[in-house]
Symmetry: C2
Subunit: 356 residues, 2 copies
Amino acid sequence: MSISQIDIASKLGVSQRAVSFALNGKPGVSPIMRKQIVELARNMGYRPNAAARAMVSQQTRNIGVVIHSLGNGDGGGGHAYDTVSGINSIIEPAGYTTCLVQMTDVESGDEGMARVFREQALDGMIFHAGVLNHVRERLGQWVERTIWCDAGVEDETNCIWRDEVEAGRLAGQAVVEAGFRDVLYFHSPPGEPRAYRHRERREAGVRSAVEAAGGVVRCHAERDEEMLHVDRWLHLLRPETAVVASEYRHAEGLLFFAAAAGLCAGRDFALVCCDDRDFYQRRLPHLSRSGFDRFAMGQRAARMLLQRLEAVNEPAPSQIVHPTWIAGHSDSPRIRPTLVPITELRTPPAGAGGNS
Amino acid sequence: MSISQIDIASKLGVSQRAVSFALNGKPGVSPIMRKQIVELARNMGYRPNAAARAMVSQQTRNIGVVIHSLGNGDGGGGHAYDTVSGINSIIEPAGYTTCLVQMTDVESGDEGMARVFREQALDGMIFHAGVLNHVRERLGQWVERTIWCDAGVEDETNCIWRDEVEAGRLAGQAVVEAGFRDVLYFHSPPGEPRAYRHRERREAGVRSAVEAAGGVVRCHAERDEEMLHVDRWLHLLRPETAVVASEYRHAEGLLFFAAAAGLCAGRDFALVCCDDRDFYQRRLPHLSRSGFDRFAMGQRAARMLLQRLEAVNEPAPSQIVHPTWIAGHSDSPRIRPTLVPITELRTPPAGAGGNS
DNA sequence: CTGAAAGCGCTTACAG
DNA sequence: CTGAAAGCGCTTACAG
């Protein structure tokens, strides 16, 4: 039904080889014939058959991008897609296609695996998810060229991950410099599906900075879906205490639900976050945080993979993503940075939320 | 390098046909031989070559999912991915793979198009984006089986879109029933990249409901990235006025930045939204809104496409997604639904934000 | 029930 | 500079 090189060749009375060479810009066809062929191909609406090309060239030009799915709609606001966008932005111009694979923790046996894994269908993959060990090992066997991107795998090669300890340290240092010595580390309870040891590491970083300054770090665990229940944690917010949110979801909860309950970050309490989202730059610039450019990380992971695909397949040296500190800023007079010097926080008025 | 059916066949001294039939569960192989073959294939780690299979079967089992990209990290919080997740949740178990394609408005000529379009590489595609007309026509020619999913295309077949007028009407009706007659419709300024006429339609719906009750609708346009500048719009919030946010981003801004500035939805002003996100159910349940389950819409679009792929290729009748009204609710005493009866809103205390 | 063979649409040595 | 041909790894009529 669709037109092939043979259709073009026979119409012009030339060999199929000539068509292939002309269309692919290879030498060995006379300029006049080349022009005829290219023109006719365009007029006939010829498009090469990817499967045939893949078979002979032994590469599919498809790249798997595996993300962890919590099920229906992810439920999390989809920070994994920040990374996916970064990956795609590099891979697509290079002529590859992003094949999205969503995985749950309870991955069934080989039969339940996505087709893209059951068959040989990928040139490589980028794994972006906390993944159970047995799944990891299986996939590693199946797809020879894999980059582990913030996936809880930290080998010497083919991995890229963020320095979470440093992210915590930056946050801790910032609150110390703002004069705080009492710090509340706000994190997810253990046992969350995305088990990738960022919680402990960020905490360790926070501690190292705060304790070096003679401060003390307390912890509070809260499921992010429960942040709405402000009564669970509102009493912990005090002007003398800096709150360090481990994940962006906690920071959003602390920012917004506290405000709804009458306590405002940057006015009634100090807030910093060890995490970041790409769109915060435009939509939440006043949040003081450890920068974590997932889009850029995805780009780097994609470049690591491309290097392995284009050159000889030697492992790519692992990379560590170093966080940077982003001081919250606001050019709106009524919205304040979430971290201000301790002396600028107001003491709670009688009856305000802080002391119930 | 990788093992093929021939490797298995020769090792067992049988024909390649036998291997193919055995592995694919087709009749025509003796049970004993079948068992031998299946076992050996497993031991040798055989995986079928997707390209070869695609070539002979004339189907790639790849499906393109096109989303609009604003560039770096999308910048928008990625509501398109709610839909993508829904699509993938249906397509993957059916043996297809989601190929993600991000498109910008300024799509260059055919040469700059993603490889997946330049070549014949897809069995079908789902287009989820407001798309410029010339791009639309080109892609429609290239991929014969396309479903237009909330993409600004509304033909009799192969389209699925949300009833935006109804979404506005539901929001308008809700505020009317809560006793409001003064309504502020809060929307994006025209000329936003994702041009898909939801802004006007939602407004028309709001108007129809409010004006039928003798109320009046005013409008205010604000870019969502500018919501942080509360001084631009804070003075518009009054207890007697119900604010109807057109898009979820505006609702979030109205919810959160107003709170940071001291005005609280459900206490100082009423807020409803014509839009929705999948994770609101868990993380923002108190927002009163027109329900819009993008995940479910993606699933429906995927089923429409699968129907065209599995059966004869006859066009799928278009579907309209009807919004439902979701009354905000909260089991936390300090967080209130964003829409409450007008009588329950407090009159602004002197000096509060509403009257500068 | 099974083997030998054609063919899917390309790329690329190999002869002329 | 160009044509005739092999082969990538499968599926599936076609003979036996």
